[in-house]
């Protein structure tokens, strides 16, 4: 853990790992000056010496592995990539409808299997509803503001347009909630979060929620808006690049979403016509004698193609579109984290400038400014590590998503192919041979 003092990778002359970062510049030397526009940057100090605190003022315990330490973050990143050392498994399944006097809602079973010391038991099974997930996400955003929190599926559903209790909707939501928890589980810092632990284990989550609310009101409003009001002169190159990337990325996803929706729409209109087309062959078959069977065969064949097409459209609606939208939401929340980072840096720069302006001859920089600098470096390190992990996961997710889309189309054509190939012998059949 905190052995010999090592420079933080974000501002040191040499990066800890040589692993290429998709957004990284070629050498870390370039990264140094780019990150610190301020000319009077102080030399970094080791983690152990730092009096770290989160941007919202809450002091951080650096001795436990759950600290926002990028060094440990990176080491654990390595561990988590190796599936064998995985020690926490979470699943969301078994949706159930609850009908109460006040409302009707769905709960999902959240099952946890773990060997971690942070958990009292090796297994847990609790029931949670959407608002519980929403609470968890808010808590994570609050308590881990330097990290990228995965998105939740849309909260509000237009009543009347979508049936909140339909099997398809519930299943789509379940998958998204499962993905949400799995992403947190895979995160080396977020997975150790206290609120996450409670979410997975508590029998009565509402009691805990109320407790948390009380604590919050005691602490006052100070928690959230500490760094408000500072304006950043310019975003460092690598974070500007991330911001630009996310802009284009979410734009392109939006376009793909629209294209996919349009395709589904066109497919359904095609389906409407096919449903009229098939039966006409049947009607014709009724007029004929020798051609009766072949025509009926064609009619049935078209019917099979209709079924296959319906399945394709359903799959695309239920499996493809939601994931796209999830990533658009992800991008939006990530852009907000970038803005928060800008705020932290802006605060640091403003305070630093204020000190310089005073022109007081001080041998040592005030701890207040030092704390700000630490916050900036911490944030930058966390964000970069999370971005790297996010990029990799994104690549895997999209690889899977797009391969899935291709697969569904292949299956559709294979079903149609089978249908048409099977009627060839029927069409070629001569009545004499029967």
């Amino acid at each position: 853990s905190a052995g010999a003092p090592r420079p933080l990778p974000s501002s040191g002359p040499k990066s800890l790992r040589e692993m290429p970062h998709p957004l990284a510049t070629s050498s870390s030397e370039e990264m140094g000056p780019a990150l610190t526009p301020s000319p009077d940057l102080l030399l970094p100090r080791s983690i152990a010496d730092k009096d770290l605190s989160l941007p919202n003022g809450t002091p951080v315990d650096t001795s436990s592995p759950a600290s926002s330490s990028s060094l440990l973050n990176r080491l654990q990143l390595d561990d988590d990539l190796d599936g064998e050392t995985r020690d926490l498994f979470v699943t969301v399944d078994d949706p159930k409808k609850h009908v109460c006097t006040m409302e009707t809602y769905i709960t999902y079973r959240v099952t946890t299997k773990t060997t971690r010391a942070e958990f009292d038991l090796p297994e847990y099974s609790v029931r949670r509803r959407y608002q519980d997930f929403d609470w968890l996400r808010n808590k994570l955003e609050e308590s881990q503001p330097t990290h990228l929190i995965p998105p939740l599926p849309e909260k509000f559903v237009v009543k009347g347009v979508v049936d909140r209790f339909s099997e398809e909707f519930v299943e789509t939501r379940r998958k998204a909630l499962d993905k949400f928890l799995k992403r947190i589980t895979d995160h080396p810092v977020l997975s150790f979060n206290e609120h996450f632990n409670v979410f997975l284990t508590a029998k009565d989550l509402n009691a805990y929620k109320k407790q948390g609310m009380a604590l919050l009101s005691k602490m006052g409003e100070s928690v959230k808006y500490v760094t408000g009001g500072y304006k950043l002169r310019s975003r460092p190159l690598e974070f500007a690049a991330i911001g630009e990337y996310l802009d284009v990325f979410s734009l392109k996803l939006g376009t793909i979403d629209r294209i996919a929706q349009r395709i589904i729409k066109e497919q359904l209109e095609y389906l409407v016509e096919l449903r009229e087309y098939g039966p006409v062959y049947s009607t014709w078959g009724g007029l004929e004698v020798e051609l009766s069977e072949p025509l009926e065969g064609v009619s049935a064949c078209i019917g099979n193609c209709c079924t296959a097409l319906e399945e394709l459209s359903e799959d695309m609606t239920e499996d493809f579109l939601p994931v796209l939208r999830e990533y658009i939401l992800y991008s939006e929340s990530m852009k907000n984290v970038l803005k928060k980072r800008d705020q932290v840096q802006a605060e640091y720069e403003a305070k630093l400038e204020a000190v310089a302006v005073k022109k007081e001859d001080r041998p040592k920089v005030p701890t207040d400014v030092e704390k700000c600098q630490d916050r900036v470096e911490c944030f930058n390190a966390d964000l970069k590590a999370d971005m790297e992990r996010w990029q990799n996961n994104k690549r895997q997710d999209f690889r899977q998503l797009l391969m899935g889309m291709a697969d569904k189309n292949i299956q559709y054509y294979e079903k149609c192919l089978t249908a048409w190939e099977s009627i060839i012998p029927l069409l070629q059949d001569k009545p004499e041979t029967k």
Partner: protein, 368 residues
């Protein structure tokens, strides 16, 4: 074989300027009219449509469209092949000179005076002639041809809509090509996979043009039988008229015989204006009556001969018509089966292309 070649070169000569094509089409029409009138008991092969019908949005309804012109050319060629392969029609001299004689053919046809034989009553398609003893087989056949026309029209209309929608589905996929390309520009590891997958989406979108072009041939095959149904109906109509004329002639003969009998015996069995006037103005002289009887007897004899020949004509018509109808039925069953098979083959080919493209895309995605 020789006449086949002549057909081919004739058709090639027709692919010249629009004017000559239109003239040619009218000559085809003239030929067909001639055959219809001259061989009323034959199900005469139909001509391809004059104007583009059952179009879907991509195919223009423009008669000058080169694809339409080409398909009509093929249709006309097909018409000639049908006539040439018909056991009765192929022997017709006018048909032969249509294939071999460039100038003066029109005059030759008109000289046959076939237009005079044409029954103007046939033009009134839906006018009903009350036939007392209709031939059940022809009635059923006429009903069948009506139903067949109705169902094939419906089929062609829906098929055109299906084609239109399918076109839309394929073409929208082309948009993936563009957006994947744009997206790949901001990606490092994923870029190549996205870019190449996008290319396959473009291929997919483009593939629908050939697919639907091929399907038009299937539509043309159906159209031929749509028009054939009309030809079948025409034969039934002609029989109907024949039967009607026969019954009218028989009826006329019966009434004349009756009149004759009345005059001869002096009894008036049925009420007639003549009878009334004769009562009012006095009866005719025996000489007048004799004269009338003689005229009637002549008419009766003529009528009986006519009726006899009409009966013979009728029986001949039924016999040869029914032979041709059987031939037509077999041809229809064979051709339509072939058409359905080729349609299924087209669908199979389309499915295989789809599988190929998406498999290629999937491989590109797997490299992301």
């Amino acid at each position: 074989i020789l006449s086949f070649r002549a057909v081919e070169s004739q058709c090639e000569g027709q692919c010249a300027p629009v004017d000559s094509l239109w003239r040619r089409y009218s000559e085809f029409e003239l030929l067909r009219n001639y055959l219809s009138v001259t061989y009323p008991h034959i199900v005469v092969p139909p001509l391809p449509e004059k104007r583009a019908d059952f179009v879907w949005h991509k195919l223009s309804a423009d008669n000058m469209d080169p694809d339409f012109v080409e398909r009509r050319r093929i249709g006309l060629e097909n018409f000639l092949l049908r006539v040439a392969s018909h056991p009765v029609l192929c022997q017709d001299k006018i048909f032969y000179s249509f294939l071999t004689q460039e100038g003066g053919w029109k005059e030759m046809v008109n000289e046959t005076g076939f237009q005079l034989k044409a029954d103007s009553r046939l033009k009134a398609l839906n006018a009903t002639f009350r036939v007392k003893n209709p031939d059940k087989r022809f009635t059923e056949l006429k009903h069948y041809s009506d139903e067949l026309q109705s169902v094939i029209s419906h089929l062609l209309r829906v098929r055109a809509r299906v084609a239109d929608r399918l076109y839309g589905v394929y073409k929208v996929h082309g948009n993936y090509g563009r957006v994947f390309s744009e997206w790949s520009a901001i990606e490092k590891e994923m870029g190549d996979g996205l870019q190449s997958a996008g290319h396959h989406m473009d291929v997919y979108a483009a593939s629908i043009d050939d697919i639907l072009e091929e399907e038009e041939h299937y539509a043309d095959q159906l159209k031929e039988y749509l028009f054939y149904a009309e030809a079948l109906r025409a034969v039934c109509r002609k029989h109907e008229l024949m039967q009607y004329d026969l019954e009218m002639a028989a009826q006329d003969l019966t009434s004349k015989k009756q009149q004759c009998e009345e005059l001869a015996t002096g009894t008036v069995r049925t009420f007639s204006l003549k009878g009334m006037t004769s009562k009012l103005f006095g009866q005719e002289t025996p000489e007048q009556r004799e004269a009338k009887i003689k005229v009637l007897e002549e008419q009766i004899q003529e009528g009986e001969e006519q009726l006899k020949s009409k009966n013979l004509e009728g029986r001949d018509f039924v016999k040869s018509a029914w032979a041709d109808i059987e031939r037509f039925k077999e041809q229809k069953n064979h051709d339509l089966k072939e058409a359905l098979i080729s349609y299924a083959v087209m669908q199979i080919s389309m499915c295989k292309k789809g599988i190929q493209v998406w498999t290629n895309a999937k491989e590109c995605f797997s490299k992301m």
